[in-house]
């Protein structure tokens, strides 16, 4: 077993926010499993992080809608790092469509990954934590879209509201085991998800130039800029640290001042 202070699994950690969170966990001394559906980018991310963190970082191929793959990623974490202390259900995607054209296929795909994936991840991590007697921390990636619906992101908004509900349900269910469940809600973050979104919105005709949709949203942010993935890490670090031990069922928005709730 490597010399780590505990194990952590981060889903959707091949890139974007998930990758940044994996890095933060490694810096804090955790052993980390990057669980991602994309072995190519995920493997490259692990190779790169392994240069500094050696055997403290592993890859597990996991589609979060497939329970056995999520369970395998958690099992790999327990085997390599002696347990699972932190589970970050971060995998998610968005595909914009104008509200009146929002389709069943996209709805089902988004709800499966973003909402069902969080339920499965929470269940599998909690089962392992309970079995090991670990007072673990489960952290879900919500979004400002879970607090406020966006017309071109109807299924995404609904899926992130579901993440908030699952966070609350999980918190109530698992408090008795000493497991806390919280969420963080990013606003607009400069990640591959948003690059894709910007391109999709351009294609839809919702914007007229590359970068325009994202810049338009930035105008609505009080701090005057979109977030970098690194802006999110400080908050999530607070949520995985003992400093937040009295918090459960809560959502912390990291939006630079957008929804003010």
């Amino acid at each position: 077993m490597s010399n780590v202070k505990g194990g952590a699994v981060v889903t959707g950690a091949a890139r974007g926010i998930g990758r940044e969170l994996a890095l933060g966990l490694l810096q804090d001394g955790f052993g980390v499993v990057i669980a991602d559906v994309d072995p190519e980018v995920g493997g490259a991310t692990v190779d790169e992080l392994a240069k500094e963190f050696g055997g403290n970082i592993l890859f597990a191929k996991a589609d979060v809608t497939k329970r056995s793959e999520v369970a395998d990623a958690i099992a790999a974490c327990r085997k390599a790092f002696g347990g699972i202390n932190v589970m970050i259900n971060n995998a998610g995607f968005n595909k914009p469509e104008p509200f009146l054209k929002a389709s069943e296929d996209i709805w089902r795909a988004i709800m499966d990954v973003n909402a069902l994936g969080v339920l499965i991840g929470t269940q599998e991590a909690a089962k392992a934590m309970i079995e090991d007697g670990t007072k673990g921390k489960i952290i879900n990636t919500a979004s400002i879209a879970g607090r406020s619906g966006f017309p071109d992101f109807a299924p995404y908004s609904a899926s992130k509201a579901a993440v908030i509900s699952l966070t609350q349900a999980g918190a109530r269910a698992l408090a008795v085991n000493g497991i806390t469940v919280n969420a963080f809600g990013p606003g607009v973050v400069d990640t591959p998800l948003w690059e894709k979104l910007d391109a999709d919105l351009l294609e839809m005709g919702a914007s007229s130039a590359p970068g325009e949709a994202m810049a338009g949203l930035a105008d609505a942010i009080l701090l005057g800029r979109v977030a970098k993935p690194a802006d999110v890490v400080g908050t999530v670090r607070f949520l995985w640290s003992p400093q937040s031990d009295y918090m459960t069922g809560q959502v912390v928005l990291i939006d630079g001042g957008m929804v003010l709730q």
Partner: protein, 257 residues
């Protein structure tokens, strides 16, 4: 990190003392403000690092005429003002709206809401002069939901959350972030006194009242004051640099909002 000053109100109370300890550990120099005259002795008793200063000022935060002494203490420390931690607050005399004395309503609003507006108004120029910083208010889960017999307290804390949002909107351009910590039940003398009073009001014992209240909390206990201090420290630190206008709910799960 270079020397930086924070002002902390309600510094002699349970959350105030824990917050002092936490912020001093992070290297802050502090002006501890409390209406209790013992605050000077309390400040003198705090162990600090070499380049840190902690000064106590006895002041009535509802009276801006007393703020000059706080200004003097900030000047005495001589480092830029980067933090306004507005912890001071009071509970109300427990009672129904039907019998609520307007003097009691005014007392609670004066301290929990009006004073915080006055403090922001007075100290925002210094925060701007320091090229930005953080304002952290301490609201309550009672500010996010109504509770019988606490009409003045709940409304004052709801107002404080709203004031926090407005200040966040106005000050973002000046690089001043404004956020609130909303505690649930915290094991301070204020909470225990309130339980005692409510127990008497409802004709039950203290232990019964405590059990009734704590059983509503998924984590099954009140917070330690240090756990509120941790959240205040987080909002004062660079770890929260992209957060403004937000509420950190440190309530053991007693309210999901």
């Amino acid at each position: 990190m270079s020397k930086r000053t924070g002002i902390l109100t309600g510094a002699a109370g349970g959350i105030g003392r824990a917050t002092t300890e936490r912020l001093v550990k992070e290297g802050w120099s502090l002006v501890l403000v409390d209406r209790d005259q013992s605050i000077g002795d309390l400040a003198a008793s705090i162990k600090t690092g070499d380049d840190q200063t902690v000064v106590g000022v006895a002041a009535d935060i509802t009276d801006p005429g007393t703020y000059g002494a706080i200004d003097d203490a900030v000047a005495e420390i001589g480092a830029p003002l980067k933090l306004l931690a507005l912890v001071a607050g009071v509970l109300q005399e427990v009672g129904a709206i039907e019998t609520l004395e307007i003097e009691e309503w005014d007392r609670v609003f004066n301290i929990n809401l009006r004073a915080n507006m006055l403090l922001m108004k007075h100290f925002i120029p210094a925060l701007k002069q320091a090229d930005g910083g953080a304002i952290v208010t301490v609201s309550s889960w009672y500010g996010k939901s109504g509770h019988g017999f606490f009409g003045a307290y709940c409304a004052s804390k709801a107002g404080l959350i709203s004031l926090t949002h407005t200040a966040a909107d106005e000050l973002a351009k000046d690089n001043i972030r404004v956020n609130t910590v909303a505690p649930g039940n915290v094991a301070t003398s204020m909470h225990l006194d309130a339980l005692n009073e409510e127990a008497a009001k409802r004709g039950v014992t203290f232990e019964e009242m405590k059990k009734t209240e704590w059983d509503k909390i998924p984590l099954g206990r009140a917070a330690d004051p240090s756990e509120i201090a941790d959240a205040i420290n987080f909002l004062a630190s660079p770890d929260s640099k992209y957060i403004t206008g937000a509420t950190i709910d440190v309530n053991g799960g007693c309210l999901f909002s």
